[in-house]
Amino acid sequence: MVEQTRVHYQEELEQLEASALGGLDLVSAALGRTLEAVEQQDVELAQQVIADDDRIDGRYLEVHQSLIALLATQSPVATDLRLISSLLHVLKNIERMGDQCVNVCKLIPLTGNEPPADEEMVRLILTMGRQTKTLISQAKRAFEERNVAMAQDLVRQDDVVDNLNRECFALALAIGDDADKREWAMTMLLGARAIERIGDNAVDIGEQVAFVVTGLFREFEDASHPNE
């Protein structure tokens, strides 16, 4: 019978992983409220999302510091080392996702109280946001289960978000000559772009899953060499 040693260290590492990935739940909740604020033009809710981003940042700082301490005190090697290295990446991704929600929420006051909203464009952005929420939960599950196939599938899911973003762009181009409406559409495009970036961060987390499992890091999709 092989007895396990260094149980406390293993437990701590497990807790830190859970805590880091728990950040994705915070982001998912923030994105949900961001979408609600977009749909309702709710400036107050948007302000709340901005204020609550401190929680995501706090999680980042707390887990980051603990991971550095673990590196310094426990000399992790092999899978443990890959896991800690990837969690440091993932934390940064999560922190960026939270910031993108803030970016969207900051745009809401700019569109005015009764904006000349285009229903189709709002619908596209909400669909993008919901799809991105799916990506976030899939990224979390893929990491928890060390499931490379599920992680790779994030690319396919992210393509849906990218396509919706392009549709938004096309819609903004065709929005007409009304100056107020154009300004509103340009502002909303920035929001769509921010949501699209959240999806990219989810794919990046997927790449870290593959690194933890295989020990090899490669980008699932290389934007600078799209045809390779």
Partner: protein, 297 residues
Amino acid sequence: MAQDESRAGTGRETREAAAERAAIAVRPGEFRQHAGGRREKVFELKGVGVSYSGAAAVKDISLDVHRNDVTALIGPSGCGKSTLLRCLNRMNDLIPGAAVEGHLLYHGEDLYGPNVDPVQVRKLIGMVFQKPNPFPKSIYDNVAFGPRILGRKENLDEAVEEALKGAALWEEVKDRLDSNAFGLSGGQQQRLCIARCIAVQPDTILMDEPCSALDPISTGKIEDLMIELKQQFSIVIVTHNMQQAARVSDRTAFLMVELDADEDNRWGRLVEYDETEKIFTNPSDKRTEDYVSGKVG
């Protein structure tokens, strides 16, 4: 606290403090009830120095050891960390010519006071050595040795079982308690020594390089055990293995060797004492950084 500081400053104690000190015999219950400061201090060292036949081994060590912490002493060979550890349960008394100066308080009382019995001290402050040193007796008799000496006759079996369980050895030896202790592996022997130590219900355990004669798996078991034991005891460990200090300790003291101008005499000096996490991620002193990162030593 203010009183302690003034005492340290003048090197004399007030009459009240002296009376209080004299009134307290070395009994575990009383020691354990002493709570002082934000965190209970087990040891308070103020300007402690040790010399052997007039030659200083360590000089001017001041630090507090907190209850239920694992406190590690690290530093290069000859820095006096073992000497310092041995001060904490008056093991240096056994060495002719050894002298301890400064103030060394144990739960607020002078460990070197006139009314303190060194034998009682060593009962309360147990020690585990580098090389496992079981007695040439059965496993059972090794653990029962201390309680028997202390006059315990009843429930000896329970005491032995409890100590062996506390040392995470029970499952491995419960069916051969009458076998000779020398038949155990090195790692098991060391855990037996820990069981023997905790069987007399100490308050603090001192460990002097407890894993340096053990393989990595046995070392891992002892380290896990330390983390369990600190729930109940306070532990001070001397280790050459910096990573061991990093893994198991809450606070770390780094000592280094100091030389006089002619380089004829050398002694140990405390460089830095802080939370272990701080020592290994962001030490305050450049000398600590160089030592823990393996650049000097």
